[in-house]
Symmetry: C2
Subunit: 300 residues, 2 copies
């Protein structure tokens, strides 16, 4: 059964990811926070704070079910439906401004009408938000994403990369949140892709979370930085907050449907600054980042 298979898989993946991250950190440990949802289900939120490498990070598994909330029923053009949803989501804010912030999630959704399965699909993605541009890091990240995509369909990488750029767009600033990655949703059974094959794709993505990000943070955790870099990191984190609170459908949906606040807003960076009308210097590495965010480019 796809549902049970994926549900067990994300528990294992949560353990693997948190172990791998603790190794990278060398000092910080994840704390476990078990929670339950009044209307059905619950989750396990794992949080690291004030580590040596990770200033703040969350690896959250949630498995919820029950009556489909009204706003979702409207979206899916159904009524009196039940749902089951489970997923894993990861947000990591490293201390070193040379190391990028990382976000990923993998999720599965089932919709029931009159007690029977009506629809089901996978969704998810992963993306990188650097403060300073190390082109080889970004190429590595996108290459890892592309390799997994290409294994399943030669059009996946191009499509999912594009959707990622479109989704993580801070429209009020006319710039991308970061340098992208992949974004996919409504991955349903089709002639080309059985639901079992989607499950394999999603599991490969789970491995890709580790393969794409860990080598980057391993390298960048050792890169020198100064107070100017920290200041810039905290200003840019403000843009991350703006995206998540103004535009991120997941965050807004979670808050509207009375999801668990602390697990939703675990994505908020630990220390953030808003300076009035901050300008980057001509020819600076800070300006280089902005130029790349203003017009997303192809990395592989």
């Amino acid at each position: 059964m796809i549902k049970n298979n994926f549900s067990k898989y994300i528990d294992v993946l949560q353990g693997e990811i948190t172990s791998a991250l603790e190794k990278v950190d060398g000092l910080g440990k994840f704390k476990k926070d078990v929670w339950s949802r009044e209307k059905g289900g619950g989750g396990l939120t794992m949080v690291i704070e004030n580590g040596k490498v990770f200033e703040k990070g969350g690896v959250n598994v949630s498995k919820v079910h029950g009556k489909l909330p009204k706003s979702m029923a409207e979206m899916f053009k159904t009524k009196d439906s039940d749902f089951y949803a489970c997923g894993i989501s990861i947000v990591l804010h490293p201390k070193n401004p040379m190391a990028p912030t990382f976000h990923a999630n993998l999720r599965y959704f089932e919709l029931y009408e009159n007690g029977g399965l009506k629809d089901r699909w996978f969704g998810g993605g992963l993306d990188l938000t650097p403060y300073y541009i190390f082109e080889n890091d970004i190429i590595h990240f996108h290459t890892k994403c592309k390799i997994v995509c290409d294994k399943y369909n030669s059009s996946f990488y191009k499509n999912y990369k594009k959707r990622c750029d479109e989704y993580f767009w801070n429209s009020h600033r006319n710039e991308a949140r970061g340098v992208g990655g992949l974004f996919f949703d409504y991955c349903r059974e089709s002639k080309e892709m059985s639901i079992d094959r989607w499950l394999l794709f999603i599991k490969d993505m789970g491995q890709c979370i580790l393969d794409s990000y860990i080598p980057i943070v391993e390298k960048r955790k050792k890169t020198d930085f100064n107070n100017i870099n920290i200041n810039w990191q905290q200003i840019r984190r403000g843009r991350y907050v703006e995206f998540n609170l103004l535009h991120d459908k997941g965050t807004l949906f979670g808050l509207k449907t009375k999801g668990r606040i602390e697990s939703i807003l675990i994505s908020m960076p630990p220390k953030v600054k808003w300076n009035y009308d901050f300008k980057t210097k001509k020819g600076s590495p800070e300006e280089k980042l902005i130029k790349i965010l203003e017009s997303p480019k192809n990395w592989v």
Copy 2:
């Protein structure tokens, strides 16, 4: 003419407020930033950063006009209309966590159809967001608000205080942003209140901005504080960000209608923290604040 009268008044008030705040600060000076709006009008944003008392603050006057944006036309059930809007808005984030954050705005709106004046009204308000509760400060603030209201109508204070509590409600946290103040809108000519009398009311509110807040910040800028207090202030400022980006109609409308980003987001606090699931200690002054925010009380 009401429009010209109020338009000139907010320029004068901007000068008075910034002078008064510079005196309170003793070190920081406001910088002027003149801007113009592509589709008509512009403004003068005055910003103070890294002062002795004010870590960040903005006093912004804007005067804009043109075709009514589509979203507003729908709201006001009109089409092919023109508008004129002007106002002053103030947000102050003091350095000392014992001094509250302050917000106020006064605004005037005119709507035209077929070249003729169709509707016009005043709006605005002022409110206080403390990090620590000094009851006498809050009573002073609300008393100053009530005195102005009572001069015009004995029901104003009660109504506008209630609307303030309702408006500045962080629904996803089930708590108020701060300890309230006044919120009024669509203040139109009526039997009881001519538009000239509304103008007098608004000007008294302008004076009230100075009378209500300045004495509080004068007192609290000298109050001792420690790192625990700063930490708490920065965590609470996170709630301020959450309100402004998730719920504040003015901010969201400004961003949607492509207003000037830096003048809109000048309200963002300078330094902010998000810790995972921060808990206050039983019997602590931090817990006292939360309890008050969870069920807004009457202060006068």
